[in-house]
């Protein structure tokens, strides 16, 4: 019976992955298209990459997006790790249920609502406190930290939940101070999850169009905003080239992260087995 089902399952997977990867592959192929008409093939060329690298608006926006993503991912990891520690290590505390909901809600909350509500908050805060002074980088970072920390919490939480606490207890029996235990035992063990969380937060921030559009001011235009406005004006071969660069960079980053995590997991298992 198993053997008979195998071809059917394989067919499903082949079609499924074709659906997932077809559009991305077509983007990559057409980014090397000589013709300006995006769907007419005019021979191989890399000229759109050259034009892309001359496009100052896109380069500036990319630099701003990378900066915002790096800052917000770092703070999201700190906040998300604290939330994960609170939820895993303290079973009962006042407001636990609320924290649980507040951590899960941004995962599914429509972006338009998040963006709108945060903008209204920032406007009111500026009115009352005089801060933030206008909207731009800072407000985007705050917004991105808030929704990215939810994703970090999910990733780190499961890692902490599966962590073998006897190592921490052993260190404490030997007289290590709590902070020392955290930095020399707990942190290294959960480091792969923190790294995965950071990468996730980084790409989420880099990718976000809707929330950033609401909370940014005239001075701060992120990469998705530039892409979005140029896509609305029509399909442009430069955007194909940009998309290809993003796909290649992300694939490399994910491959490296996956390899590092795989190696660490292997090492950890080896250590466990040798004990």
């Amino acid at each position: 019976m198993r053997k008979n089902r195998f071809p059917l399952l394989m067919t499903i997977l082949v079609f499924g992955y074709a659906f997932l990867y077809g559009p991305i592959l077509s983007l990559i192929i057409y980014s090397f298209n000589e013709s300006r008409l995006v769907t007419v093939w005019g021979g191989w060329s890399t000229k759109w990459y050259g034009e892309l690298l001359q496009n100052q608006a896109i380069l500036d926006a990319a630099a701003l997006s990378l900066k915002i993503a790096a800052i917000s991912a770092t703070f999201a990891v700190i906040l998300g790790t604290l939330a994960a520690l609170a939820l895993v290590r303290f079973k009962r505390f006042k407001g636990r249920y609320l924290l649980d909901i507040m951590v899960a809600a941004p995962l599914v909350m429509p972006e338009v609502i998040l963006g709108l509500s945060l903008l209204l908050l920032f406007v009111a805060m500026e009115d009352v406190l005089g801060w933030p002074d206008g909207r731009g980088q800072t407000t985007i970072v705050i917004a991105h930290m808030t929704f990215a920390m939810a994703y970090v919490t999910v990733v780190v939480r499961s890692r902490i939940a599966h962590l073998d606490q006897s190592l921490e207890e052993a260190a404490m029996d030997l007289g290590a101070k709590p902070l020392k235990v955290f930095f020399s035992i707990t942190l290294p063990i959960i480091a792969p999850a923190l790294m995965a969380g950071w990468l996730l937060a980084f790409t989420l921030s880099l990718d976000d169009l809707v929330v950033a559009s609401f909370v940014s001011g005239p001075g701060a235009t992120t990469l998705p905003m530039v892409v979005y406005s140029s896509v609305r004006l029509g399909v442009s071969p430069q955007i194909n080239a940009l998309a290809t660069l993003i796909v290649v960079l992300v694939t490399i980053a994910v491959a490296i992260a996956g390899y590092v995590m795989y190696r660490q997991e292997k090492l950890r298992q080896l250590e466990m087995n040798s004990k």
Partner: protein, 301 residues
């Protein structure tokens, strides 16, 4: 059991307090502002709405609460249609995503063990690349002179290009494509935990494979179906980018309408009222989803 965490006196407060404060300030509080502004009157000023407290006259504080934004949202056919349209598009796409995602999750769960991780990675990888760009890729494929129409015409299947882009079909394709990983992952998680001995017992007792699937596998994977469905339904209700780029004027959804009210019409109170209504519609599925998640967690423990 004592862990390091419980030994720091200020630690518990700091560890719980920091994320709690942050989320209350930047996640919970903003919703109160939505509520407040949805009850205000629009005005041509900065910010574009009138305050509640209109000043003190004769020792009386005048508070103006304005419900007209809500009555507008529930009476004007434009908004009512957008709400119905959003529910319909989100509902249909959720079902479509489950129909496509379920067999894939099942196939991955039944794949040989050393294949599973790479197969899952391949599901997640597109999710890491830009969402906007993945939606944009479909424009080139669905256009009148796009990949699909060009191939079909050169093969002689059709003479006239099929109109797909800027129709609801394109919106469904875009949504299902973008949200597929969100249904596959939770479905896989429940399917992989399933005890195969139940199926073996059923087949020993002469149960046919399709009946085994309907009476055992499908009911047992319900938590995954609900979780995956919610992960599609809730965000799609407020989806803005996909209908805007792939859909025509007929696929008006709440997210797009909010965007227009906010940025083009500068009517913040109506935009806030729309957001409040959308939130209200979403609270029920969200609570349901949380309930299922909790139950799943309890089952796993």
């Amino acid at each position: 059991m004592i862990t390091w965490i419980k030994q720091i006196n200020w630690g518990k407060t700091a560890i719980i307090g920091t994320p709690w404060l942050w989320l209350s300030l930047f996640f919970l509080l903003p919703f109160l502002f939505i509520l407040k502004i949805s009850l205000s009157e629009a005005a041509l000023m900065q910010p574009p709405y009138l305050p509640f407290i209109r000043g003190v006259e004769d020792g009386l504080v005048t508070i103006a609460i304005n419900l007209s934004n809500y009555s507008l949202v529930f009476e004007d056919p434009l908004y009512v249609n957008a709400l119905i349209n959003s529910i319909e598009i989100a509902g249909v796409s959720t079902v479509l995503a489950l129909i496509i995602g379920y067999p894939m999750a099942y196939a991955i769960a039944k794949a040989p063990q050393h294949w599973r991780l790479p197969l899952l990675m391949l599901i997640i990888l597109p999710f890491w690349t830009s969402f906007l760009i993945r939606v944009y890729a479909w424009i080139g494929i669905l256009k009148n002179n796009g990949l699909i129409n060009n191939s079909l015409m050169s093969l002689g299947v059709i003479d006239q290009p099929l109109e797909i882009l800027y129709t609801p079909t394109a919106v469904y394709i875009g949504i299902v494509y973008s949200y597929l990983p969100f249904v596959i992952l939770p479905l896989y998680a429940t399917l992989i935990r399933m005890d195969d001995s139940l199926l073996e017992a059923a087949s020993d007792l002469g149960c046919k494979p399709w009946k085994q699937f309907l009476t055992i596998t499908l009911p047992l994977s319900m938590p995954g179906i609900v979780a995956g469905g919610m992960l599609v339904f809730i965000p799609v209700m407020g989806e803005f980018v996909i209908p805007d780029l792939l859909g025509g004027p007929n696929s008006l959804m709440l997210g797009k309408l909010m965007w227009t009210e906010f940025f083009s019409n500068k009517d913040w109170p109506v935009a806030s009222a729309l957001a409040a209504v959308l939130l209200l519609v979403l609270i029920v599925p969200f609570v349901l989803w949380q309930h299922y998640e909790r139950r799943q967690e309890e089952n796993a423990e």
